[in-house]
């Protein structure tokens, strides 16, 4: 079953992605990337701390958000059925997609039925997850990203590297070059004298996109939330481009992960406070769009909601791991993660990078298909402290590490080198006698080596490439304790 799962959900993980440590290496050497990231995450981090600090009920809000999400996940089937009924009542149509392939088939069919050959898109991670743009292209339909950062990624034929700021790895000069080189291929070209001034870049994007908004008859969107009781769908964004997509076209197709449902419209009050403060360090989202089905003479006359599973119910079945589904995609955990800050998002080989990606991706695709990701963390805990819905990411990380080891054990007849080391270590720790003997052996080695070791053998050499390793002293504490009768016989070594 697992390999079939992987086959159906390859888009969560980019095909052919190397393991995290391999993918990280060239990225770590990219000084431009490091400095772009450091500046960007540093700025957002400070802004976030400032605006979360100014609310005296911030912790209560987090607790409330966590509680709503946990309750939703416990009764997900109930809320989803309620959502479906509400959307239909409001004039929308609901489609259920078990996996990426089915979702892509549904959306392609819906676009075809309109007779159109192009769609505008407002930032949606769910459609990235399923590879919708590629599927539409195969069907001869052009999909245009309208979120500024998404546009940059699309024009550069690049991959997103951040949940909220997909082009965070690019600086202004790089963006100018991308616009100049690629805009003309997709529509209105960039002005010839384009500078890397942010206002000039934004204006070029605006002119380029406006042409598309005014022409498009079909839009595809994601969803941040959908309330089960009213069938209202919510999208939050910073630029207003999404609002154009949500109001101008005749047909709107929303693709939404099933975990995005919340029980009641009134719950939005919690999340619309938690999200902007955690994500961009703003008090309020610049643009929050809410729509309920269709309304005659106002906005799209046809509305489709595609509810996407793609590994989510499998994730839901794991009592510890399921908390990853509570994620509201604020990206706070990315911005505080010391590993993400050094490597950037591409190292994670997935649409979902950073700490949340490290726990979500392996669950969506099966842990054996992304086994290096749960280990791409020092377990420093900064993500847990930052998460507005209190997802205990370190807890899920170690939980998935255990699953990764178990799945490897089940598949391999011969234990890995690591498994042998762990087994041997466990045997040493089984009795104090064995531990003492091992210490003695280590201490003997030390006599020949001096105080530090600058080159360790084999798999340990990665360590000694950058640090001197200490040499165990001749006498362990327990040997000293025994020799001096609890330190009473001799004060010092």
């Amino acid at each position: 079953m697992t390999s079939q799962r992987a086959h159906q959900r390859t888009n969560v993980v980019w095909l052919g992605s190397p393991s995290f440590p391999e993918a990280a290496k060239p990225l770590l050497r990219d000084e431009q990337l490091r400095s772009n990231l450091r500046r960007a995450t540093g700025t957002i981090r400070e802004r976030r701390l400032a605006v979360t600090g100014e609310l005296d009920d911030w912790e209560e809000l987090r607790t409330a958000g966590e509680a709503v999400k946990r309750r939703t996940l416990r009764h997900l089937d109930h809320y989803l059925e309620q959502l479906e009924a509400s959307v239909v009542r409001a004039g929308g149509q609901v489609h259920w997609a078990a996996d990426a392939e089915e979702a892509n088939r549904i959306v392609t069919r819906l676009v075809r039925e309109t007779g159109e050959r192009e769609v505008v898109k407002v930032k949606s991670m769910a459609t990235q997850e399923i590879g919708l743009n590629e599927a539409l292209a195969e069907a001869g339909i052009d999909a245009y990203e309208t979120d500024l950062a998404e546009l940059i990624v699309q024009l550069a034929d690049d991959r997103p590297s951040h949940i909220l700021v997909p082009a965070i790895h690019r600086n202004r000069a790089e963006i100018r070059e991308i616009f100049t080189a690629a805009m003309g291929r997709y529509g209105r070209p960039a002005p010839e004298d384009l500078t890397d001034d942010p206002a000039a870049l934004a204006e070029a994007a605006r002119l380029h996109l406006r042409e598309k908004f005014l022409r498009a008859k079909v839009a595809v969107s994601g969803a941040n939330f959908a309330s089960a009781d009213t069938g209202t769908v919510a999208v939050v964004e910073s630029e207003g481009n999404g609002r154009m997509c949500l109001t101008l076209p005749e047909t709107l197709i929303t693709v939404m992960g099933i975990e995005k449902v919340v029980p009641a419209f009134s719950d939005l009050e919690i999340f619309l406070q938690l999200l902007p403060r955690s994500s961009t360090g703003e008090r309020m989202n610049p643009y929050t769009s809410l729509w309920t089905g269709t309304t005659e003479g106002d906005g799209p006359s046809t509305f489709h909601l595609v509810l996407l599973d793609n590994g989510r119910t499998a994730t839901l079945a794991d009592a510890t791991g399921r908390q990853a589904l509570a994620c509201i995609r604020c990206s706070a955990c990315l911005n505080v993660c010391p590993v993400y800050e050094r490597t950037g998002g591409h190292a994670y080989g997935s649409v979902y990078p950073g700490p949340i990606g490290a726990v979500l991706t392996p669950q969506l695709v099966g842990v054996e298909n992304a086994a290096s990701l749960p280990f791409a963390s020092t377990l420093c805990g900064a993500c847990y402290d930052a998460c507005p819905v209190k997802i205990d990411i370190p807890e899920v990380l170690t939980h998935l590490r255990a699953q990764a080891v178990e799945s490897r054990r089940a598949r391999r007849k011969v234990p890995s080198a690591e498994a042998l080391v762990m087994k041997a270590a466990a045997a040493v720790f089984a009795t104090p006698g064995r531990l003492a003997a091992a210490q003695k052996a280590a201490g003997l080695g030390g006599r020949f080596l001096g105080d530090t070791v600058s080159r360790l053998p084999g798999p340990l050499s990665g360590w000694s490439d950058a640090r001197d390793a200490p040499v165990p002293p001749r006498e362990s504490f327990r040997a000293w304790w025994e020799r001096t009768e609890g330190g009473t016989d001799e004060e010092e070594r």
């Binding site: 590993v339 377990l379 590490r401 720790f429 089984a430 091992a438 390793a469």
Partner: protein, 245 residues
């Protein structure tokens, strides 16, 4: 109070001086200290690398060895974190009823050194003397794992002769993370480099922390650079007195 020292396998083997410092310090404060020699390891390395079933015998041993003591003190926030937060998880996942109960009984009596001094013994001035320029790295397991807060700094501020200087970006991880430093050596090294830059900016001669594993990592980098900065465990600073000079 009859206190058991849980030194942790790593300190026992590589940093015995830290254990000796804890013994000296607690005895100086008037307490009986015992080192139950049957102790081995908390299983943190196995836990963090994903080898959970292997930990069960270590868990059992820990409860047998330390079950009878009023207080258990360890100079290692990460090992105390393992006991406090993960022992119950493993016991529930793999243990029998008796083991679960034994774990639940012992866990509340296990303390990290700085917590123990400040919260249980209610001292911050331990009568130490340490005439050096020192900067302190709070380590993730102390800061976010145990929520030790400023307890270590409160202890250090009372040390006579010390010149305590603030470490820039103190709360960011040094990149050790146990087997992370092996599995993701390149990323770990990048994090270490930034941490060392911060340490060197302070002009301190001594880098201190409450966990020898992070100190081994940062200190190993600092000696590689011949930086002249020594790394010294918090316990060793607190155990130092004027007579030692």
């Amino acid at each position: 109070m009859r206190i058991a020292l849980f030194l942790t396998c790593f300190n026992d083997t590589v940093y015995p001086q830290t254990g000796k410092a804890v013994v000296r310090l607690l005895r100086r404060l008037g307490h009986e200290v015992d080192f139950p020699p049957a102790q081995t390891c908390c299983g943190q390395m196995h836990f963090n690398t994903g080898y959970r079933p292997e930990i069960v015998p270590m868990l059992r041993r820990f409860t047998e060895v330390f079950g009878g003591y009023e207080a258990v003190v360890a100079p290692s926030p990460s090992c105390v974190g393992m006991v406090r937060h993960e022992f119950p998880v493993v016991a529930r996942q793999y243990g029998d009823n008796a083991l679960r109960e034994a774990v639940d009984a012992v866990v509340p009596r296990v303390h990290e050194l700085s917590e123990f001094l400040v919260d249980e013994l209610k001292v911050t001035d331990v009568g130490a003397y340490y005439p050096h320029r020192v900067t302190y790295h709070p380590t993730c397991h102390s800061l976010r794992g145990l929520r030790s807060g400023d307890r270590p700094l409160r202890l250090l501020r009372e040390v006579r002769g010390i010149d305590l200087v603030e470490l820039p970006e103190a709360e960011s991880c040094c990149g050790f993370g146990g087997t992370f430093a092996l599995k993701n050596a390149a990323t770990s090294t990048a994090m270490l480099a930034d941490k060392m830059t911060c340490v060197r900016e302070t002009g301190a001669e001594v880098l201190s922390a409450a966990d020898n594993s992070c100190l081994m990592h940062i200190g190993g980098g600092l000696t590689r650079l011949s930086s002249g900065v020594r790394s010294v465990h918090l316990a060793e600073i607190l155990a130092s007195t004027e007579e030692d000079r």
